[in-house]
Amino acid sequence: MSFKVPLIVRGQVIESDLVEYGGRREAARFRAPALASHLAALVLEAPSRMADLYQISFDEIVAFLGKLGERLDPDRNTYLQEAFELSRLTSGLSEPILRHHYRQIPGYFEPRVVRELAERLIGRAYLEGWVEQPAAPQDISRLRIRAFGARAVHVIAGNVPVVGATTVIRNAVTRSDAIVKTPSNDPLTTAAIVRTMVDVAADHPLTRHVSVAYWKGGDPEIEEYLYDPRRIEKIIAWGGFAGIQSVKRYLQPGLDLITLDPKHSSSLIGREAFESGSTLQSVARRLALDIGGLNQEGCVNARVIYVESGTDAAGIERADQLGALTFAALQSLPDFLSTPHKAFDRELKAELDALSLLEDEYRVFGGRRNEGAVIVSRSSQPVDFARQLACRVGNLVPVDSLETAVRSVNAYTQTIGIYPESLKESLRDRLALHGAQRLVSLGAATLHQHPGPQDGIEPLRRMVKWITEETFDGRRLDETVAGRHEV
C-alpha cells in the first residue's frame, strides 16, 4: 500500500485526484493530490483578507495553539500515527528516536513555551499592537512600530519532525499566512498537525491561514504561479543548494527570500580534556552526544572535531584515546537519542573502507557495518570527505593549537560545541567573526536548543513586516512650510 498525503487548503482537506510521488524505494512512495487545479485557492491574492487574524488577541492565539497541542499526542492522534509510519520508512532517524521526537511535539505548543518564544524572538507587544518608541523630550515627532504578518511559502526540511511543528507555531504567532511545501523525506507530519487544527476548528482564522501541500520541488508549473510578488511576499527556504537554485530564478523586487542554508557543525576540545582519566571519559561521553544525537541527521551535529592534543607521537596517542572512548560512548547512547543508522550511506561506507589503505594517515574506530565510526586523523587535516560525514561518523583532528581550528570556521559552520567553558569565552568573539553561529557547551549541541536566533539571522523577525507609524505636530509642519524653522 502507498501512503496518502492530503492537500490542506485553508481549512479544507483534499484527498482526490492523487498522483504518485516519492523515493526510489517502493515502500516509501506516497500519493498526493495533483496541485495545479488548486493553486488559485491556495494563495491569498488579496492581502486584506488577513484582517481576520487581527480580530483575535495574542492570548487567543496562544490558547488555540495550546488546545491544538493537547490533541497532538502521538499515542492518540491517528494522523500523527500515520505520519510516524511513513517517517519510519523515509526518515534517517530510527524508530526509537522518531518516537521520542513525536512525543515531544505537544510540548512545543504549550502556552508557556509559545509565550516565551514570541516574547524572546519578537516581543509580544509588537505582535499585539503599535509600540511607542522612546523619544527625547525635545523630539517633535513620535514613532510607533508594529510587526505584521506576511504571506509566505515555507519550503521546509524533513530531517527532524520538529521543523513542521515550529513552522505552524511561527506562522500563528506572527499572524502570517503560510503555504507549507513539505519535502519527500517527511511529507506527512506537518499535514497531520494542520489536519488536527482543522478538526479543532476548521473556520478559525489560524486554520484558514495555513495550507500544506506537496509538489515536487522545482516544478515550474507550480512555482511560476506561486513565487510571484502579487501572491506571496516571502519565501522561507530550508536546506539544499538545489532547492535554492530553483527558487532563485523567481526572485524579483517584492519577493523576499529567507534562506536557512544547509550547515555543518563542529567541536573544539581544549587540552584540559586530558587532565585526568575521568575528565577524558566525561568529554568523550559529551562528544558522543554531539556526534550521535539525532543520529547525526541534524545540522547541529558535530562532524569534524578539533582536539588540542598535540601532533607529536604522544599527542596522537592522546587523540586516539579520546577516539576510542568516544566510539565506545557512541555505542552506549540510549536508543531514544541515537542508534546504529538504519540506512548507512553507501558512499560514506566506501570512503571509510578506503581509509584502511592509509593506516599512516588515519585510524578508524568502528565503521565495520552501520554502527558509526570515529576517525582519528594522523595530521592536522580533516578527511577529504568531511562534508559527507553522517550516520554517526565523526573525525577527530589533532592540533597543536586551536588556531587552525578557529581559522577553519566559515559561514557554513553553524554550531560549535566547546570544552572547557573558559575556552568558549576566550574564543567566542573570534569564532563569530569567522562565521560560527551558535557556541555551546560540548554535549549540548543537539539536546537543549533554546528558542533563539537561528543560524545568526533571526528568521522570525524577518518573517514579519516591521511597519512604522509616525506622528508629527501639524503646527510645526505649517511653520516649516512658512520658512520659520529649519527641519
Binding site: G158, E297, G298, N301, D384
Partner: protein, 482 residues
C-alpha cells in the same frame, strides 16, 4: 600473439577453458565467440580466472590483503566470495588531498604502490611539484602508464595501468569493431588502417587520451587529426576544482595558494583559451581538406560530438567523411541535455551512420558494446554483479536485477580488477540470452548515477555544505590576471 595475427575460431568449451587459464587469451579468439559460451562454462571459467588473480595478487597488494582479512575470505568458493572482495570505487582516490596540496608526492607514490605489483621503489619524487610531472616520472621510470579520471568532484582517481594493458585495451576494441556483428564482419583496424579523427586532446593521461594516442598509432598507422594535437590534457587543471572545494570548506585556513609550478603555466592555459577558435578552425579545415570522403575512425563522447557537428553544420559542412567510416562513442550525455534529433544531426554532418557504442569506465580494461536492441554486453573477461543499492549485498545471479553495478575485470594482472561502481543498472542475461542472440550478462540502456538519484529526490535536510562548481580554468586565469 601479434596484433595483426588471424584470430582463431575455436569451440566455446575450448575458449572458456582458455579464458579460465589466461583471460588475456581472449584476444586470440574472435570477439563474437565470447557471446556463445553457455552459462555454466562461462561461470566456471570466470571463477577459475578470478581465483588465479586472487591467489597471485593477494600477497602482493596490501589493499587486497587487508580486504580479504577484513572479509574473512581465504579462497574464492563462488561468486558471493568474489562479490565481497570488490574494492569500493573510492579506493583509487583514497589518498588525502593534502598530499597534492602540499606536494607530498613521496607519500602519494607510497599510497599508489599499495595498489599495484609494479615496484615504485626506485621512483625519485624530489623536485616533483605537479601531478602531471608525477605521472610523467612514473611513466618514464616504470612500466606504468598511469590513468587519471575526470574527477567530477575535483579529486582524481589514479589507476595503476601498465603500458601493456593500454595496448590490450586498444587491441580488444579493434577485435570488437571487427567481430561484434560476426567474425570478420567489420574491418580489422589493426591491419586495415583508418585515419583517426578525434575532437579532443592527443596528449594526456586520461583513459581516453591514452587510448586515443595509441589508436592513432595502431588504427591510424600514424595518421590522425586531433583538435589539440600538442596541448596537454592536464591532471593538475582538473584537480584545481578539488582544491577550490577543499579550500572553501576550510574557511580562512584553506585560503588557496597555487603552487608555483601551476602559476608558471598560467600563460600556457591562457594561450590555449585564447586559441580555441583558431584550433577549431584548423580542425575543420583539415578535416575537410585532408580527410573529406575518406573512410576514417572517429572516437568521441556524444556531447563533444554534437558540439562539433553543430559547429560544422553552422559552417555549412555536411557529409564530410566516407560512408564506410566508423564512429565509436559512449558515455551518455554526461548530464548535458542534447536535442532529440542530435544523432541525426551528427550523422548529417559526419556523412555516415556506422556506430559502435560502448558502456565503459576508466577503471575497466574491457568495455561493453551495445547491441541493436540497446543492451550493453560484457565480454566474458569481465564479471558483472548487481548489489543491493542499500545494503551492498550481492543480488541473485538470475532473472533481471536492478541495483548497484559491480565488476570484476579479469584482464589486469598487476592490480586488482574488482570494483563496486556508482551506477544503478538493470542486469539481465542470466539463463535467458538477450533477444539479439548473444549469451551472457548484459546491462539495460537505462543507467543512472546513484549520486544523481540522491540529488533529485526532493529530500530536504538542514545539514550540508555548499557545492563548489567546476570553475578551475576561470579561477586560474582570474588569479593570474590573464
Amino acid at each position: 600473439m601479434s596484433a595483426a595475427a588471424q584470430s582463431v575460431r575455436i569451440n566455446s568449451q575450448e575458449l572458456a577453458r582458455q579464458i579460465g587459464e589466461n583471460p588475456v587469451s581472449f584476444l586470440d579468439a574472435t570477439y563474437d565467440s565470447g557471446f556463445v559460451i553457455d552459462d555454466e562454462e562461462r561461470h566456471a571459467a570466470q571463477l577459475a580466472a578470478a581465483r588465479q588473480r586472487f591467489e597471485a595478487l593477494r600477497p602482493r597488494l596490501p589493499a587486497l590483503t587487508k580486504l580479504a582479512v577484513d572479509q574473512g575470505i581465504e579462497s574464492i568458493g563462488g561468486f558471493e566470495d568474489l562479490a565481497a572482495l570488490l574494492f569500493p570505487h573510492t579506493v583509487y582516490k583514497s589518498y588525502p588531498f593534502s598530499f597534492i596540496e602540499q606536494g607530498r608526492f613521496d607519500r602519494l607514490t607510497r599510497w599508489f604502490s599499495s595498489l599495484t605489483t609494479v615496484s615504485l621503489a626506485a621512483i625519485d619524487t624530489n623536485g616533483i611539484a605537479t601531478i602531471d610531472d608525477w605521472i610523467a616520472v612514473l611513466e618514464r621510470d616504470t612500466s606504468l602508464a598511469p590513468i587519471h579520471t575526470f574527477g567530477t568532484s575535483g579529486k582524481l582517481s589514479f589507476l595503476p595501468r601498465t603500458r601493456e594493458q593500454v595496448r590490450i585495451t586498444v587491441t580488444l576494441n579493434a577485435r570488437c569493431v571487427r567481430d561484434f556483428d560476426g567474425a570478420y564482419a567489420g574491418p580489422d583496424l589493426l591491419v586495415d588502417h583508418r585515419p583517426l579523427i578525434a575532437p579532443s586532446y592527443r596528449r594526456g593521461a586520461s583513459a581516453i587520451a591514452r587510448g586515443m594516442n595509441l589508436m592513432a598509432e595502431l588504427y591510424g598507422g600514424g595518421t590522425a587529426l586531433f583538435l589539440y594535437p600538442e596541448a596537454l590534457f592536464s591532471a593538475d587543471v582538473l584537480s584545481l576544482a578539488g582544491r577550490l572545494r577543499a579550500a572553501e570548506t576550510r574557511g580562512e585556513a584553506g585560503r588557496l595558494e597555487l603552487p608555483a609550478a601551476l602559476q608558471a603555466r598560467r600563460q600556457e592555459f591562457a594561450q590555449r583559451e585564447a586559441n580555441r577558435p583558431q584550433d577549431l578552425d584548423r580542425f575543420f579545415t583539415e578535416a575537410a581538406s585532408r580527410f573529406a570522403g575518406r573512410e576514417v575512425f572517429l572516437f568521441a563522447v556524444w556531447p563533444i560530438l554534437f558540439e562539433w557537428a553543430d559547429e560544422g553544420l553552422k559552417r555549412g559542412l555536411k557529409g564530410i567523411f566516407g560512408p564506410n567510416s566508423i564512429l565509436t562513442s559512449g558515455g551518455g550525455s554526461k548530464g548535458r541535455p542534447l536535442p532529440p534529433d542530435h544523432r541525426e544531426r551528427i550523422a548529417e554532418f559526419l556523412g555516415f551512420t556506422r556506430t559502435l557504442e560502448f558502456f565503459g569506465m576508466s577503471e575497466l580494461m574491457a568495455n561493453a558494446p551495445r547491441c541493436q536492441l540497446g543492451n550493453y554486453h560484457f565480454p566474458p573477461v569481465v564479471i558483472p554483479f548487481v548489489l543491493d543499492g542499500d545494503t551492498g549485498q550481492m543480488l541473485p545471479r538470475e532473472g533481471l536485477q536492478t541495483g548497484r553495478l559491480a565488476l570484476m575485470d579479469l584482464l589486469p594482472d598487476s592490480y586488482w580488477g574488482g570494483l563496486v561502481t556508482g551506477d544503478q543498472v538493470t542486469l539481465g542475461g542470466f539463463g535467458t540470452p538477450c533477444d539479439c542472440g548473444r549469451r551472457g550478462p548484459y546491462v539495460h540502456p537505462e543507467i543512472s548515477r546513484y549520486s544523481d538519484l540522491k540529488n533529485g529526490d526532493d529530500k530536504i535536510n538542514c545539514a550540508g555544505a555548499p557545492e563548489a562548481h567546476d570553475r578551475a580554468i576561470e579561477f586560474l586565469l582570474d588569479r593570474s590576471g590573464a
